[in-house]
């Protein structure tokens, strides 16, 4: 009933287009990752490059993937660290 009144006054509690947009945003994160096989590999390689400046990591056992909750997507990386590099503690 309240919804009907709101509609009568031209106010919609949850505009369905916002729902559409949010759902699209999330589904496209997955689509874009899954449809490009080079994407994850490229991302992994670049992460290894950057992180290796600071520490020795175990590239073989590292894991990078996307995790989805109700309304967000997170990039989750599990990267085992072997040892820190001392030199990088100082500013270059």
């Amino acid at each position: 009933m309240f919804d009907l009144i709101q509609r009568l006054f031209g106010k919609d509690s949850a505009a369905s287009k916002d729902v559409a947009k949010e759902r699209l945003r999330l589904v496209l994160v997955h689509d874009r990752v899954n449809t490009s096989p080079q994407f994850m590999e490229g991302l992994k390689d670049d992460m290894i490059k950057v992180i290796s400046n600071y520490m020795d990591i175990n590239e073989k056992t590292m894991e990078v993937h996307f995790a989805q909750t109700e309304n967000s997507v997170a990039l989750v990386a599990n990267i085992p660290v072997n040892r820190m590099k001392r030199g990088k503690m100082l500013k270059e």
Binding site: A15, S16, K17, K21, D31, T35
Partner: protein
């Protein structure tokens, strides 16, 4: 050398064929020499939308297989001096041609015509690959629905991986009333999601159905809203700077009164 433009979408039923027919006719109305190529082999429809279905003798596969010369398969639209159609084969399938053959065909057509427009089949398989092979640029048609926008995003990715950069977007079947109520994604929403350049907006228009019934592209109608939208797109493609249509409906007191009393 003419320009080869492919009209594609991923999802079916969003208006690729209607768009191809209207843009082609629109170019012809501007005096350009244009040929429309139906690349939807096995499910040809551009011929009926154009009203040229009774004049087909040879088709695209006949040309590719050398059963006829290219000129023999081209159907000239008698209503518009410079408009031609190369129909698809109806009794064959997508595998009857390959991307190299399509490239060759497009190159040959672009010698003769200023504009070559290819109507791409739905999907992302062989037919899609054939249709885009010879194209210089791509136009993506979508509608303001999650399924169509999602497929458009996939197509943008596939075009990119085939080296076809900067496709342009046509958003078809916008309903101003629904956009206003917040029940349809608007232009900005879709552009934000897909992150490509907008080429045009086509409002939902019953006249499209009427004109398709008759086999006369809507763009020839002097007053239909969709007609104006298609004409604008043609002029943009020819390099003119035409502002986008305002899709918001007039929301003055009188139009609200009209809505209330439904007249």
């Amino acid at each position: 050398m003419g320009e080869v433009i492919v009209v594609t979408s991923g999802k079916g039923g969003v208006g690729k064929t209607t768009t191809t027919a209207n843009l082609g006719t629109g170019f012809a109305l501007q005096g350009k020499k244009v040929v429309l190529v139906d690349a939807d082999i096995g499910l040809r429809n551009l011929d009926v939308v154009m009203g040229l279905e009774n004049r087909i003798v040879y088709d695209l596969v006949d040309v590719v297989e050398g059963n006829c010369r290219l000129k023999q398969a081209l159907i000239r639209d008698k209503r518009y001096e410079s408009l031609y159609l190369l129909p698809a084969a109806q009794t064959r399938d997508k595998n009857a041609v390959n991307p190299d053959q399509m490239k060759e065909l497009c190159a040959e057509l672009s010698q003769e015509f200023e504009i070559v427009i290819i109507d791409c089949p739905a999907g992302i398989e062989q037919g899609f690959k054939n249709a885009i092979a010879g194209a210089d640029r791509a136009i993506i048609v979508t509608t303001p629905e999650v399924s169509a926008v999602r497929d458009a995003d996939r197509i943008i990715g596939l075009l990119e991986s085939e080296g076809k950069h900067n496709p342009k977007l046509i958003i078809n079947r916008i309903r101003p009333n629904m956009v206003k109520k917040g029940d349809m994604m608007d232009i900005d929403d879709i552009i934000e999601i897909l992150a490509i350049d907008l080429l045009g907006i086509i409002p939902e228009d019953e006249y499209i159905i009427i004109s398709t019934n008759r086999g006369e592209p809507a763009v020839t109608n002097p007053v239909a809203a969709a007609s104006t939208a298609y004409k604008n797109i043609v002029r943009r493609l020819l390099g003119e700077n035409i502002p986008f249509m305002k899709i918001e409906q007039n929301d003055g007191f009188f139009s609200r009164l009209k809505k209330v009393f439904n007249f």
